[in-house]
Subunit: 314 residues, 2 copies
Amino acid sequence: MRVPSFSDIESAHERIKPFVHQTPVFKSKSVNKLLGAEFFFKCENFQKVGAFKFRGATNAVGLLSDTEAARGVATHSSGNHAAALALAARNRGIKAYVVMPETSPSIKIKAVKGYGAEVVFCKPTLEARESTLKDVIKKTGAVEIHPYNNFNVIAGQGTAAKELADEVNGLDIVMCPVGGGGLLSGTSIAIKAMLPGSKVVACEPAGADDAYRSFYGDKLVPSVDPKTIADGLLTSLGTMNYTIIKAKTDQIVTVSEGAIIEAMRMIWERMKIIVEPSAAVPLAAVVEKRINVKNKRTGIILSGGNVDLEKLPF
Amino acid sequence: MRVPSFSDIESAHERIKPFVHQTPVFKSKSVNKLLGAEFFFKCENFQKVGAFKFRGATNAVGLLSDTEAARGVATHSSGNHAAALALAARNRGIKAYVVMPETSPSIKIKAVKGYGAEVVFCKPTLEARESTLKDVIKKTGAVEIHPYNNFNVIAGQGTAAKELADEVNGLDIVMCPVGGGGLLSGTSIAIKAMLPGSKVVACEPAGADDAYRSFYGDKLVPSVDPKTIADGLLTSLGTMNYTIIKAKTDQIVTVSEGAIIEAMRMIWERMKIIVEPSAAVPLAAVVEKRINVKNKRTGIILSGGNVDLEKLPF
């Protein structure tokens, strides 16, 4: 299987720079003191559409030929990729069709529609998403941009870790959440190329632990009836993502729902920034002592900040 | 009455620089588009202790003689000044005694104690605060550092607006909330000195409108039974603050509770940062069309980010 190399991430970075924010890296003395490490938080919650997903979508849309682009793009997504693809498509002046589970947070549905995409609802199962998407593509001829199992999307997602490593010297550990594996595979490629001595650790809710089981079981297994507050991480690991992660990721740890909420609260209260539950999963692994970062320079990619304020866990 | 001049703010800035964060100025295309202006948000929610108050407290503590400092400092405060004074005192290695209304948000009480101050509770009235504080000072000999009616505190608070004007050219309007008037008086002095063509607009909850009534009635009137979600703005305008504001502030507008919540929500959802209700009061004035900022370069001081996540208005 052909997978992205670091040079694909470098080209992606040049391609998407005019469209994406170079998000800030935040530090927090208070969180450092509480947890005994030196953290560098890459704030993708401040990215356009409120999540790193805009990087991958922008790269994938940017690489379409004019003929492809004219047919529009289509995808299924539980939310952030949907908004990301919608905005990326609008930036290129093309149509986006988005299949969304009818259970998606209202804030995400509103955002997708706000960016001008056509939303098609389906049942919240992988099967329903895929069959509905097939129908849409059949009808419209749109090009599918998969949320994570896509070469160009992965290359785009890797640009967040690239910016982090460009800005912060000598990271011992880089952590990110894993759902479908787009962010993790891009991050792993970038970090292993730029900081070969640094460890890449993926963090996953115990209630949606297909990446953990796949990684350590040496066989890609799907997510079956996943349950977690981290709604961005309900999806199953993709085949391309699995291949990359097996080769480049050092470790996957799982965390409890309680730890996710505690970590999310810590980020909100101490850092005064809004992150969604999925983004709090890496810090949850530290809170829950699933990974030892004592005195280590630890990069964490805060993947997004889209939460429904009506449904907070506090 | 001797009041601070801009040079006092400049000296304060040099004095406190080693202790305070130079907070970032955030922009938001999405908020700009929604409200039709170009906003520059000075993020004092990212200041140490989560509020601009740390600037004034640090300046006042820094200006104590060694003899004064040895006796410790004391104050009454509904919260942010309390935490600010506690940390400023700890930074100088001296004691802080803090009189707090028993109704203060738990997150603020916890913070004050966490910074090592001795907390003395009182009823939530100005009278109870003042008499309890008198008792404390009598017993300990501590130097009172008033939250806002204090020359050095005002000079310190003015450094937030100074940093904003240093960083952003050509602001047409600068807005901040007004409670006791510490931030507003410091801001007015700084902006009138640095950007004489710029308008300083104070924003106040209609349910705690003593500054509005004092300003337009040409007579300092106290806050009687104020009611607002903006718990940092319940206090009455100070005499020194009143004097400065009458001379230097251009306009005061009042806003409804609904607009405060709407503005707070807009900042949380669109900018992914946490601000307390008091900090949302200036944007509320724009939301509620109490002030016309159409196409204007508008600076807003986001005064703080300390909210009790258990008691959100959403």
